[in-house]
């Protein structure tokens, strides 16, 4: 209901202001001999911006501060002693009042002052909503008035709209940054709580991972050495890359350089399907087909290969990642200018020499980007590892043995049955944060390398 009113308000402002901006500037243009600086469309958009922005800002501010304002309003309604209570208690009281006002029951009989406060709060909610809507509408109209007065031949509407667009783009690219901040914030508190149980040194340098299940009676905390998980992650990702990079890259090369277009058009989407198969399917594929196959193979050649092992998980994960590398690389390689290819072929280079020595180096930054993306995917993958790696977080260097990874442990500990305030469960946050920081460092390094490489050739 509220949302509907707001949406309607914004929509009205939008159409009205655009129309006014557009038609006014158009009239100007047809009147004089001089040309408009910007086309009427831009004037319309600019007017719309001027009308909408103040309104949205008002609404946004309200969304931001309403909680604080509401809080202090409720507090003001309650007896002054309330403010003397501890923060948790104050919050509890405020929650009670809000719950009463919104029709949620509360424990115990509500006190009369609480009821009064709730009543006042209800009125306050309505009044404040009306006030905010009114303010937004008024400011929007003001903005529109201002904007339509500015309209003139020399008004650089386009430039201004473009600046707005630019700001919009910047805002979009900050979503990623905000996400990061959000992730760090949502992990940090609990990770710190974990470290209040467990010494960070034991965590970062421990070689045993055995969190146990916290039995209600015993206070056993278990052991939380990160290294076995980390090594498992590295090993499985490495194996996955060993499978995916050659196959993916060679497929991409073949598709973009050798295959006739109709083959390409058929094969490429089929390979892309691999990316869409739910990872749980891969997990079962690994467990039921690939694992026993490797075990059998090992038997044949006299090597002990376990059915569930880093090898199995890595290979299957590699299969899943193939399309990431092949599709992206294919596009990137196809974009290397044809003249480059001709130059090399004209010198008598074979197709493969041209690809290896000219096209690939030219496409390398992009390809490296694709590979990094794939590595990231491999590190973050859980389902396959859960099923295929044997969930055995022990520091072992033989890929034919079972292992486990950081992300699997995160999922296990987080969605398990353990007490959510115990280190068994909190360790997930510490693991998440650690993984986050580590991949961050890895990416900084990668950026540095790619940059260095690009500098050389551009």
């Amino acid at each position: 209901m509220n949302a509907l009113v707001i949406a309607a308000l914004l929509l009205v402002l939008l159409t009205l202001s655009y129309q006014i901006g557009w038609s006014r500037s158009r009239r100007l243009a047809s009147g004089g001999a001089e040309r408009l600086h910007s086309r009427p469309i831009y004037h319309g958009v600019l007017a719309a911006l001027f009308a909408l922005l103040p309104a949205i800002i008002v609404l946004g501010l309200w969304a931001l501060f309403s909680e604080t304002v509401t809080r202090s309003f409720i507090l003001a309604q309650l007896p002054p002693e309330t403010a003397q209570l501890t923060q948790v208690q104050v919050q509890a009281v405020i929650n009670r009042v809000q719950a009463i006002a919104n029709g949620f029951g509360v424990v115990g009989e509500p006190a009369p002052e609480e009821l009064a406060a709730a009543q006042a709060f209800e009125t306050f909610q309505l009044v404040s909503f009306l006030a905010v809507i009114g303010a937004a509408a008024a400011l929007g109209a003001g903005g529109l008035f201002f904007a339509q007065r500015r309209i003139g031949l020399r008004l650089r509407a386009r430039t201004e709209v473009e600046i707005a667009v630019r700001i919009g783009l910047i805002a979009c690219s900050t979503v990623a940054v905000l996400t990061t901040i959000g992730i760090v914030l949502s992990l940090l508190a609990d990770a710190l709580r974990f470290f209040s149980f467990i010494n960070p040194l034991d965590f970062f340098f421990g070689t045993t991972w055995n969190p146990r299940f916290q039995s209600s009676g015993t206070g056993s905390a278990g052991e939380y050495g990160l290294l076995p998980l980390l090594w498992g992650t590295v090993m499985i990702s490495l194996i996955a890359m060993l499978v995916a990079v050659p196959i993916g890259l060679m497929s991409a090369i073949y598709l973009s350089q050798y295959a006739p277009p109709n083959v390409r058009n058929v094969v490429k989407p089929i390979i892309e399907v691999l990316a869409g198969i739910p990872t749980i399917v891969y997990g079962f594929f690994a467990l039921v087909t690939v694992g026993p196959f490797f075990a059998g193979l090992g038997n044949m050649i006299g090597v002990d290969i376990r059915a569930t092992s880093a090898l199995t998980a890595g290979v299957v994960m590699g299969i899943m990642i193939i399309p990431f590398i092949s599709s992206l690389s294919d596009d990137i390689i196809a974009q290397v200018p044809r003249t480059m290819r001709d130059g090399s072929l004209g010198l008598g280079a074979t197709q493969s020499e041209t690809i290896r020595k000219v096209l690939l180096p030219a496409a390398l930054p992009g390809v490296v980007g694709a590979i990094l993306l794939a590595v990231s995917r491999a590190i973050g993958e859980t389902m396959i590892v859960v099923l295929a790696a044997g969930n055995s977080p022990v520091l072992r260097f033989n890929p034919a043995e079972p292992t486990s990874t950081v992300t699997v442990s995160i999922v296990n500990q987080l969605t398990g049955d353990a007490d959510f305030t115990s280190p068994q469960s909190l360790v997930a946050f510490a693991l998440g944060l650690t993984l986050f920081v580590m991949t961050l460092l890895l990416n900084v390094l990668a950026l540095y390398i790619v940059r260095k490489f690009r500098e050389q050739y551009e």
Binding site: G343, G346, L347, A349, T350, E353, V358, P361, Y457, E458
Partner: protein
């Protein structure tokens, strides 16, 4: 040097592409036999080229003499580049391009199934219309050919080849301090000279040049023309050019293409001074295009 601030070819007839339709029957190239005694190294016979369904070249037959420069001239889009690409089979790399007829080098048909295209292209080098240096250092650009063909025994060999090639292309002095900076950072003219150096470095027998000087200033052009003149003592050179002056200056044989057909070919001197075909005459005097 002619000086004129106004146009000297202002009365231009309207374009008359429709006069000579593509399928015209009984078409015959006019040939003036060459008496300078250069034996034919390359022989093209009835070469037609199709881009998908569209025919771009019609039954071209021509002999390219050894140790001489042959120039292809003709208006834009007439098929000069297309024919040039037939000679080292670069057309193979174009999707949908189909070549019929034969081109023979020393009597061996280049379109023979048993022929090795790679070897062929090492023997018949090519320089393109738009400069296309690799995104590598200047040195690597030139060293690329010799490396893949295994022409250098060792590093110093390679360096020597690179330096010599750059010198011959008239680029060495300008880039000697930055041999290891990227080739793409050069100006247009420098880039094209780099491409020429790159082609020379492989030591081909025939060199095909598709408007090698179109991006060069007169001085650099002169250097290249001089180089072409030097090289023709030992090599067979084919050059596509828009500049009739250039064709006149550097070539011994000229072929005139028009709308995908080879209209006239013969010793440069006779083509320019005494064209036997009306359209050649018209083109040279600027009446058709």
């Amino acid at each position: 040097m002619t000086i004129g601030t106004t146009m000297d070819r202002s009365a231009m007839p309207p374009m008359n592409q429709s006069n000579t339709t593509a399928g015209e029957a009984g078409f015959q190239t006019v040939r003036t036999p060459d008496d300078t005694g250069h034996p034919a190294r390359l022989k093209a016979e009835d070469v037609s080229v199709f881009y998908n369904e569209k025919q771009a070249l019609f039954d071209v037959s021509i002999d390219i003499p050894e140790k001489a420069v042959s120039a292809f001239i003709g208006p834009s889009g007439c098929g000069k580049s297309t024919f040039l690409r037939c000679i080292n089979r670069m057309n193979d790399t174009i999707e949908g391009c189909r070549v019929t007829g034969t081109v023979a080098l020393d009597g061996d048909n280049l379109y023979d199934a048993s022929l090795d295209v790679v070897e062929l292209r090492a023997r018949i080098g090519m320089v393109f219309q738009k400069p296309n240096p690799f995104p590598k250092s200047i040195f690597e650009n030139v060293a690329y050919g010799p490396k893949i063909h295994g022409l250098a025994r060792n590093k110093s060999d390679l360096e020597e080849i690179v330096v010599t090639s750059l010198q011959k292309a008239g680029l060495f002095e300008e880039v000697k301090d930055r041999l290891h900076s990227p080739g793409t950072g050069l100006s247009g003219g420098q880039q094209q000279r780099l491409c020429i150096a790159r082609a020379i470095a492989v030591g081909p027998e025939v060199i095909l040049m598709d408007e090698p000087c179109s991006a060069l200033d007169p001085i650099a052009t002169a250097i290249i023309e001089e180089l072409i003149d030097e090289l023709r003592a030992n090599y067979t050179i084919v050059i596509v050019t828009h500049s009739m002056q250039q064709a006149a200056r550097v070539s011994q044989k000229t072929a005139f293409f028009h709308l995908g057909k080879l209209i006239e070919e013969g010793p440069t001197e006779s083509i320019f001074t005494n064209p036997r075909e009306k359209r050649t005459q018209d083109y040279i005097t600027g009446r058709i295009g």
